[in-house]
Point group: C2
Chain length 332, copies 2
């Protein structure tokens, strides 16, 4: 197989397009002592990558124009000149969008294929699962019988949040972007109710009807008017883990929305933004618990798999039009 | 002295005016067994009363048109037919805006004039002090060396928050509505810096300059563009106790502002609304600590006193144009 890479060619102003990426041939590098040669097997595309395309100081550095794109990748060791990495073993790392690349092994995490499928380490058994786990349990603090609303409920994080919510005994209401997803959420994933936010002019009413006891926890993956509609149904002491704002990621300036402070006060709402990296010291705990739930059949490993290295940019762009159910992954 | 009452005559749509109130003569009531006759001495006017003028379900019921207004009042027992209430003793209660009124004693709290001046039980030693105390300490969680920004810093709650912030070793920056208040905050109340938000076109820069290490805690009394400017200077893990939104209390519908979710996420901001009543079981603790700080000269009992029963509505309206420094109180 010939080596290829995907270069970040220019910063998008608003919605990114294929023009922001260039697939190019690349020489397969040779190894020095201490190095390993990795072959990418599964490549993660995630909404948060959009933030790294802007030239802005944030919790991770922006992508550099002219350099390869990066994301979470499951790779196989093809050749090793490093005694800590044996050939044919599998690792997770934040790696370049390349088919083959060398590494000195720093920042690579070994993966146990016996515990869960390789690709799941990009989803439920990886960062998106951890975000769901810590955001819901540490900030949302669900109690049995409470009502949990999840936006982006058919997405990678949202779907895991919804299922953990069910495990914790909540009434779980999902918000998603198509009737097909709504049906899936209700029929395959056990949500108590799901709502299609697209072309919906009665979101506030629909949420009210789906949540007869009000909203105790709102796991927010999207921001914008969907969130306004949920928050207007918030109960006193509602907790809102703010995990994502995909409705805003392609804005060149912050859009306007109602100032909710009077609500936040009178209903004692707690909103808390978080980044999964802040819980890195507890990833093992989350992985063990999530692995257990997967084995018990309580959490499904829903994935949308796109095949082919050159399809990575398209798969990434598809996130913003809701092309995925569960984790969006590119298989090489 | 003849008895009078102040009746709530009509719900304001936006900014209230004197037309919403009617001062009328009232017969001084006679006492049945178990009752006491109270004379109002100090009457509290507070921004939150504006919310009760709307016909909206909230944490306290709305005022009823045609009925007397109510607020926190310090009253003296003039006559008693209740053995638990001796004549000449002082109580705090949520009472009608009347000079004289009867009570069965329910909801009245005895006041210790030896510990602090009577009027201070409407301010630092009462609800506004408690709001400052619990909001800052329980939600803001100030640590020595952190930077605390307080909006409405010359107001009743804000001024107490600022002073507790200094006690806790924070750099304290206040935002207020006049150059005079700014000078007072810096020169009389020991704030490290203060900013006049009125006619200020560089709030973001001014806050940045006043907070060279960024903002760790933002105690929000006002909402609106002032808060946007503070939040854009927030450090990672910034805590925002949301105590008031006086900039929005006279809106007939929620005004629009930038949707801050991307910020809330990337900087892991925690915003939490609260109502002082939720801490009622801990009022004694707060009162003891605040009383100690007052005695030690660490917290001042700044008050703006307006004299005369008929001036209550005007004093209340004055809150929305910043006529007060510290607690606004009407003395009968």
């Amino acid at each position: 197989m010939k080596n290829k890479s995907i270069i970040f060619t220019q910063r998008p102003k608003e919605m990114p397009s294929l023009d922001n990426f260039l697939v190019q041939d690349e020489k397969t590098p040779s190894l020095s002592n201490g190095q390993i040669l990795l072959k990418s097997l599964y490549i993660s595309v995630d909404p948060y990558l959009r933030g790294r395309m802007n030239n802005m100081k944030s919790y991770i550095p922006p992508f550099e124009v002219g350099q390869p794109m990066k994301s979470g990748i499951i790779a196989k060791v093809i050749k090793s000149k490093n005694k800590n990495f044996s050939e044919e073993s599998y690792f997770y790392g934040e790696l370049d969008w390349k088919i083959f690349q060398v590494s000195d092994g720093r920042g690579l995490f070994p993966i146990d294929e016996g515990l869960a499928p390789l690709s799941s380490y990009l989803g439920v058994m990886g960062g998106t699962g951890f975000a769901a786990y810590f955001g819901l349990l540490e900030i949302g603090k669900p109690k049995e019988g409470e009502t949990l609303v999840v936006s982006g409920a058919a997405g990678a994080v949202g779907l895991t949040v919804a299922q953990i919510g069910k495990i914790k005994g909540c009434r779980v209401v999902g918000i998603a972007g198509s009737d097909e997803k709504v049906k899936k959420l209700e029929n395959e994933f056990g949500l108590d109710s799901a709502i299609n936010y697209k072309n919906n002019e009665n979101m506030v009413e629909d949420i009210k009807n789906a949540c007869p006891n009000g909203v105790d926890i709102y796991f927010d993956n999207v921001g914008g008017p969907v969130s306004d509609a949920v928050i207007s149904n918030a109960n006193n002491f509602c907790r809102i883990p703010v995990c994502g704002a995909i409705s805003q990621y392609n804005e060149s300036k912050l859009s306007l929305g109602p100032r909710l402070n009077p609500f936040v006060i009178s209903r004692r709402i707690k909103m808390e933004g978080f980044i999964v990296f802040d819980y890195a010291h507890r990833y093992m705990e989350a992985q063990m618990q999530l692995g257990k739930w997967i084995k018990e059949g309580k959490i499904s490993l829903e994935e949308t798999i796109v095949e082919g290295f050159e399809e990575i940019p398209g798969a990434f762009l598809g996130l913003f039009s809701g092309k995925n159910t569960g984790k969006m992954i590119v298989k090489i």
